[in-house]
Amino acid sequence: MSSTPNPVWSNRTIKWVDRRLPIFSMMHRELIVYPTPRNLNYWWNFGSLAGITLVILILSGIFLAMYYTPHEDMAFASIERIMREVNYGWLVRFIHMNTVSLFFLVVYIHIFRGMYYGSYKAPRELLWGIGVLIYLVMVATAFLGYVLPWGQMSFWAATVITSLVTAVPWVGEDLAIWLWGGFSVDNATLKRFFSLHYLLPFVIFALVFLHLWALHTTKSNNPLGVEVKKPADTLPFHPYYTMKDAFGLGVALLVLAFFVFFYPNYFNHAINYVQADPMVTPAHIVPEWYFLPFYAILRAIPDKLGGVVLMFASIAIWFILPLLDTSKVRSGRFRPVFKWFFWILVADFIFLTYLGAMPAEGIYVTMGQWATGYYFVHFLVILPLLGWFEKPLPVPESISAAVTAGHEKEAAA
């Protein structure tokens, strides 16, 4: 940072402001000249993409809140009114609904990218930890938001998930009643869920700010996992990565628009267009697709408390990932054995997603237990052992050296 002096602003207003609050200098430093490793691949697009997705969600959500009514008798109808009577209400709502799926997809890719390239290792442990925290708040926000339409799946998701706390010994029942503000999920629950659903995205926003602060302090990791050593290793963030991110955003928006305009209810459950009925549980309660892996883990354990603990542990374990991975080499590219186990974990995660959607009976339960078992074995056994047994490939001395070597190889071929 010290190597790039603050620019001399020619515009007098900018100069005046910047001398008193160096916001323009900061933006110049962090968004324009910020030295970024020159070898980032497209997997590095998903961080900024997640940020933009969050902004789309907050924006569309603010406009939805202008018409939504958080009341058990009016919530469902108020959303139908948004869809039918409000100008472009259907568009705002479909954007909000489908962007959630995009957000989770992008964040999952972002998380697994970090796992493959060892982005959680020193000195980026805190950066990683804040990221896990963001994911947890995201989960809470998405769950609260899903309850708001007050359809059948909304209501029963709220009932099932809030009932998780009844697994807490001694105070479980009281805790649930406190969460509900009544003796079951009802009007009071809906109102507090709306209140919190409006609040938490801004908490995420603040955490994202910390995430970026930590990122710009430790600097970006890169596919080689080698720290930046000299200016030749980097490129200025603008225009190189701004344009690369912009292109990635274009692709993401294409996918999003396709669903918003042509299959807006693809990720939704049809039964959620039936208004909540506290007397009738739908035949199959299935969470949204992005919760399925953890739902499968919850159901893998026949014990109530055990299932809940395990589900939270499966995310909490990410916090201590920097401790569990004992390998000295950062990037998976130079870890021939780890590479395989990484892809097995990805497959396991997708398999858990699939199992989460299946009914909890017969062979699915057994498979769910095996998949859950493997998930934890990966983090608790395989990763620590790999650091001892694996013989990593030679790591290039610097980013620019590797890039040049790559070009020579290309030229020779």
Partner: protein, 266 residues
């Protein structure tokens, strides 16, 4: 090349995660495959067929209306399916709606106006249950959104009645017995449906002269309910086509510009 592989793997990963998720689940036993129809509103260029929707409205008013509501809808909405302002006024006026209280504090009945909500068949759920063997006939205005299979499901259900329990059900469950007051429907979860068969030959004559066979009526009313559930569909798809074309061009330009910038950085 490597970048393209990256994008391709990302896409595959995305597809794997997202598509594994909402795998359709059959509820309550086996059902024959839905009688899938060719609908005019399907696909990227889908639009509604106004004549069909008007016939569907005729089926709704003659057959469904006596038990099923169209919540969240108004008579004025009918202008969207091709009725003129005066025709809508006339349609609305043929229904009575409650208004009031008047200056004596009494509620009174008056002919409905285009601004009025489409009248509901029952005053409240208790009366609806009383009249229908303990079951509230569901609201139809979101029906195609609220059932997997959408219009195809509604169509299949309307034509899915059997006079007696068919062999294939008894093979799966020899003890299957239809509760009294219920009808057998191949597509209804659990097969036992409270609504008796409604569509028969000759129950109504279409004002446009189309022969009103059960198939025709089922198809028309299913399309009508699709419109009732997604009145925004045509606007949505039209706008969507523009947005997609815009984004394809824009993304292509971004890609070209990104390549141009990165040319000398590699």
């Amino acid at each position: 090349m490597k970048t393209l592989t990256g994008v391709a793997t990302a896409a595959a990963f995305a597809a794997g995660l997202a598509l594994a998720a909402p795998t359709a689940q059959a509820a309550g036993g086996e059902h024959p495959p839905l009688k899938t129809q060719n609908w005019t509103f399907e696909g990227v260029f889908g639009t509604y067929d106004e004549a069909q929707l008007q016939r569907g409205w005729e089926v709704y008013t003659n057959v469904c209306k006596s038990c099923h509501a169209l919540d969240y809808m108004y008579y004025r909405n009918l202008e969207q399916i091709g009725y003129s302002e005066d025709e809508v006024k006339e349609i609305a006026a043929s229904f009575e709606t409650e208004d009031g209280p008047d200056e004596w504090g009494e509620m009174f009945m008056r002919p409905a106006e285009p601004l009025d909500p489409i009248i509901e068949p029952y005053e409240n759920d208790a009366i609806a249950m009383l009249a229908n063997g303990g079951v509230v006939p569901p609201n139809l205005s979101v029906m195609t959104r609220a059932r997997d299979g959408g219009a195809d499901y509604v169509y299949s259900l309307l034509l899915g009645y059997e006079d007696s329990v068919p062999e294939w059900v008894l093979e799966a469950d020899p003890n299957f017995e239809l509760a009294p007051g219920k009808s057998f429907n191949s597509y209804f979860p659990g097969y036992a449906i409270s609504m008796p068969q409604q569509l028969f030959e000759g129950i109504l004559e279409y004002s446009d002269g189309t022969p009103a066979t059960p198939q025709q009526m089922a198809k028309d009313v299913s399309a009508f309910l699709q419109w009732a559930a997604e009145p925004e569909l045509e606007d949505r798809k039209t706008l969507g086509r523009y947005v997609l074309v815009f984004l394809v061009v824009f993304t292509a330009l971004l890609y070209a510009y990104k390549r141009e910038i990165w040319k000398d950085a590699h």
